[in-house]
């Protein structure tokens, strides 16, 4: 057991436990806070994988934006679900069965794939070079410029769509909003 392995196991257990609490918590605000812990655990794992830039993105985008957005959503709609009994529907055992079978199937599949016990190769480039390469590849015609543009258009469409959908309906004579 190396230090890295011990760190990985502790982080994995915390992340998995927090994820379990996200889907089982009775109170939604608690579930959202457990979600923040799970996302932070993923950020630690990204640092273990030496993807430091993505770990920063994880903290900024997921914990800073998406989790806060979800908490806003819970706050805006609270009061309707807090008193209505259990938070899972009647078919929760079926969902648990499907999820368990999916996990077992994935694990069985991993035993068939060769090379899963290998050690990671050394990274020869410096950390700053890697981010440079990533940034250049995202706008490079031979790189990922199409994916980059698609993501930009998707974000723009989501921005406009969210405003249109969430805007309160106008009075009838004002026309369709």
């Amino acid at each position: 057991m190396t230090v890295m392995q011990i760190i990985f196991i502790i982080t994995a257990l915390v992340t998995l436990g927090a994820a379990m609490r996200v889907v089982t918590s009775e109170r939604l605000v608690n579930a959202a806070l457990w979600l923040v812990l799970a996302l932070a655990g993923i950020a630690v794992l990204l640092i273990l994988l030496e993807a430091n830039f993505l770990a920063a993105v994880q903290v900024v985008v997921y914990i800073g934006a998406i989790a806060i957005l979800l908490i806003f959503g819970i706050m805006l709609t609270r009061g309707v679900m807090d008193t209505s009994g259990p938070q899972a529907n009647q078919n929760w055992w079926l969902a648990a069965l499907v999820a368990g079978l999916l996990f077992a199937g994935l694990l069985t599949m991993f035993t068939q794939v060769p090379g899963l016990r290998r050690s990671p190769p050394e990274i020869h480039t410096a950390e700053g070079d890697l981010i440079n390469t990533l940034g250049t590849a995202l706008v490079d015609v031979n790189g990922f410029v199409l994916a980059f543009e698609l993501a930009s258009i998707l974000l723009l469409a989501a921005l406009v769509g969210a405003i249109v959908v969430a805007r309160p309906a106008e009075p009838e004579e004002g026309g369709e909003s």
């Binding site: 890295m4 392995q5 990985f8 994995a12 992340t15 998995l16 994820a19 996200v22 889907v23 939604l28 959202a32 979600l35 996302l39 993923i42 794992l45 990204l46 273990l48 030496e50 830039f53 993505l54 985008v61 997921y62 998406i66 957005l69 979800l70 959503g73 819970i74 709609t77 309707v80 679900m81 209505s84 899972a88 529907n89 078919n91 929760w92 969902a95 499907v98 999820a99 368990g100 996990f103 994935l106 991993f110 899963l116 290998r118 050690s119 990671p120 990274i123 590849a137 995202l138 790189g143 990922f144 994916a147 698609l150 993501a151 469409a157 989501a158 769509g161 969210a162 959908v165 969430a166």
Partner: protein
């Protein structure tokens, strides 16, 4: 060193927990939280494969960034829909939102 399959097994576990949340939770916001967990498992897988198979290329990281963009737009549009439904029908329970069912 940490073997690759540890990361894959953890990502599979988080994905399945998120899938359970999507299938079993009543509240629409809780369903969105399950989806976020599943997307995070995908990101972990992409970055793990990038690190263990081909760290000289940036493909894995570039598509992890794509997943971040998709997750952000999905959360924004999903919450807008939930708030719109809450405003018109005063509920966020997924099994009560059935006006498109027949």
């Amino acid at each position: 060193m940490i073997p690759l399959w540890w990361y894959l097994a953890l990502a599979a576990a988080i994905f399945c927990v998120g899938a359970y949340g999507v299938m079993a939770r009543k509240n629409a916001v809780a369903i969105l939280m399950g989806i976020e967990l599943m997307l995070n498992a995908v990101i972990l897988n992409l970055v793990a494969f990038w690190r263990y198979l081909d760290p000289a290329e940036v493909t894995g990281q570039a598509f992890a960034i794509m997943v971040y963009a998709v997750a952000a737009s999905e959360a924004a549009v999903g919450l807008a829909l939930i708030i719109s439904i809450y405003r018109t029908r005063s509920t966020v329970a997924a099994d009560e939102i059935d006006m498109m069912k027949w």
